[in-house]
């Protein structure tokens, strides 16, 4: 359900003083990360940030490489708003949001070379592993990009490659080792509401926001991906501030991912 105009105005006018749920401006909601939740998937994760919940699953297929990168596997990240998650998706303009979510998470994984795609080559120019990360939004209470990004990397870190038979067929119930993952990118999104910077916005807060800025950080504290969204402009200072927050918060989240993965492998 979209917010009423009055509620919008109330949130916007009071945001500088207090958030609806009492958090400080830069405070995340509780994050829980579960692994191994889907037996059919090569890797999987459930991520909750407050009431937001997503499921990520990794599947593999054998395919042909792209003509311009004959010795590289393919990685595709796809996120879909299930009708499960919110009735708004039926009526409103969801497709564009869904595409942006999908693209931001996809680029965050692919262009940051998180997966060493050269190790996914089976036969140059002919056969490579294609790795699909599919993300389903189960419940939408804001900050989908961060939840999806955390889910995607966690699912990849726990994923295994199926065994390849001599005759080229795939043995779906045996595995040959982990995916070649090189780093753990963590996206952190903050928004601007009535000129106040707010991190990990709820769905209501997102609807009241003027702009959003997602900054993805890797372990050495460098940034590997960024995306501004929303119609309003941001100042240089606001962007630097949000990037700072992301650097700081990503450490804690990365630690939680590592703990979940370690527990999974134990």
């Amino acid at each position: 359900m979209a917010l009423l105009y009055q509620n919008r105005q109330y949130i916007r006018n009071n945001i500088a003083k207090k958030r609806e749920d009492g958090r400080t401006n830069e405070q995340f909601r509780d994050i829980t990360i579960e692994t191994g939740i889907i037996g059919r998937a090569e890797g999987s994760a459930r991520v909750k940030i407050g009431d937001t919940e997503i499921i990520a699953g990794v599947k593999t297929e054998i395919g042909k490489p792209y003509p311009d990168s004959p010795s590289e596997g393919v990685i595709m990240v796809n996120s879909e708003f299930s009708a499960l998650a919110s009735p708004d998706f039926e009526n409103g303009p969801p497709r564009e949001d869904s595409i942006e979510l999908s693209r931001v998470v996809d680029r965050g994984i692919r262009e940051s070379k998180t997966v060493d795609v050269e190790k996914l080559c089976i036969e140059k120019g002919e056969k490579v592993w294609m790795v699909f990360v599919d993300i389903t939004i189960v419940n939408h209470d804001g900050n989908l990009i961060d939840a999806a990004g955390i889910g995607a990397i966690t699912a990849l870190l726990t994923a295994q490659l199926p065994k390849l038979n001599e005759d080229g067929t795939v043995e779906r119930e045996e595995f040959e080792g982990n995916l070649p993952i090189t780093q753990i990118p963590v996206p952190v999104t903050s928004g601007l509401i009535n000129n106040t910077i707010i991190t990990d916005m709820s769905k209501d807060e997102t609807e009241c926001s003027d702009a959003r800025f997602t900054v993805t950080t890797i372990e050495n504290e460098n940034y590997c991906a960024m995306q501004k969204a929303g119609p309003s402009e941001l100042t240089e200072e606001q962007m630097l501030k949000i990037a700072d927050i992301a650097q700081k918060e990503s450490k804690r989240i990365r630690a939680a991912i590592k703990t979940a993965v370690k527990k999974h492998k134990a």
Partner: protein, 240 residues
């Protein structure tokens, strides 16, 4: 019902026990949880063996698209989808002929128990997401769906639950699992109403004699009771 049966699945019944240790008339373990999707009006999560399904209800609410409005009663919109990672081979997102057909039979399996006439011109959206598939996805989804509808407060004259009766190694068995479905002879999903055991869904592929069909219906009537109990227990637990 593939033709190449792997060695280990040639014998699906041994000493009257099935490969997962069940008796012929025994359901797989059932787990139902209510209210798992906070933003939905009603929702349920169900596991029957290794088949896992999430169901959400939104509505009764304004009906979209407008040209499908029925002025006399609510329209039940059903969307069944296998999530891409729910099976061995990835499922491409988006509707298929199979998912469209299952959406339709699922709608028919539920419509007759819902008092749709209480909500003229409105829509009730029912989303069935198969998270993990190990046979019986439509039956499992239907069983969860009537729980989610109840949770959404939609008035119904009874609950609907569903299971499958199959034939494996020439014997009738209840609630087939994945290998039994793939390498067995017959699969018959069936849905019944809690109050009168009338049948709202029945599909069959494979091979049944007249006698086997009759027996199957009898077996379904008995086997389905624990599902109705699990549905009621889940709702009760939620409201406690």
């Amino acid at each position: 019902m593939a033709s190449n049966v792997p060695e280990k699945y040639k014998t699906l019944i041994k000493n009257n026990k099935r490969i997962d240790g069940r008796k012929l008339d025994e359901l797989r373990p059932v787990k139902i949880e209510v209210g798992v999707v906070p933003s939905a009006d009603g929702s349920a999560y169900i596991e029957i063996g290794n088949t896992k399904v999430l169901v959400a209800v939104h509505g009764p609410k304004e009906m979209f698209p407008r040209h499908m409005i029925n002025e006399d009663r609510a329209v039940l919109n059903v969307r069944y989808a296998m999530l891409p990672f729910s099976t061995s081979e990835r499922v491409r997102p988006g509707p298929s002929r199979r998912s469209n057909e299952i959406s339709k039979v699922t709608r028919h399996a539920l419509e007759s128990v819902i008092f749709l006439e209480e909500f003229p011109a409105m829509g009730i959206d029912l989303t069935l997401d198969i998270i993990q598939a190990d046979a019986g996805t439509r039956a499992t989804a239907i069983t969860a769906a009537s729980v989610a509808l109840a949770h959404a407060g939609i008035p119904m004259k009874g609950l609907v639950a569903a299971t499958a009766i199959g034939k494996i190694n020439d014997k009738l068995a209840v609630d087939l699992n994945g290998p039994e479905d793939n390498f067995g002879q017959t699969d018959m999903p069936i849905a019944m109403i809690s109050t009168n055991k009338n049948i709202t869904l029945l599909q069959m592929d494979g091979d049944f004699t007249k006698e086997e069909f009759k027996t199957s219906l009898e077996m379904a009537k008995k086997a389905i009771d624990p599902l109705f109990e699990a549905q009621r227990a889940a709702l009760q637990k939620y409201y406690e």
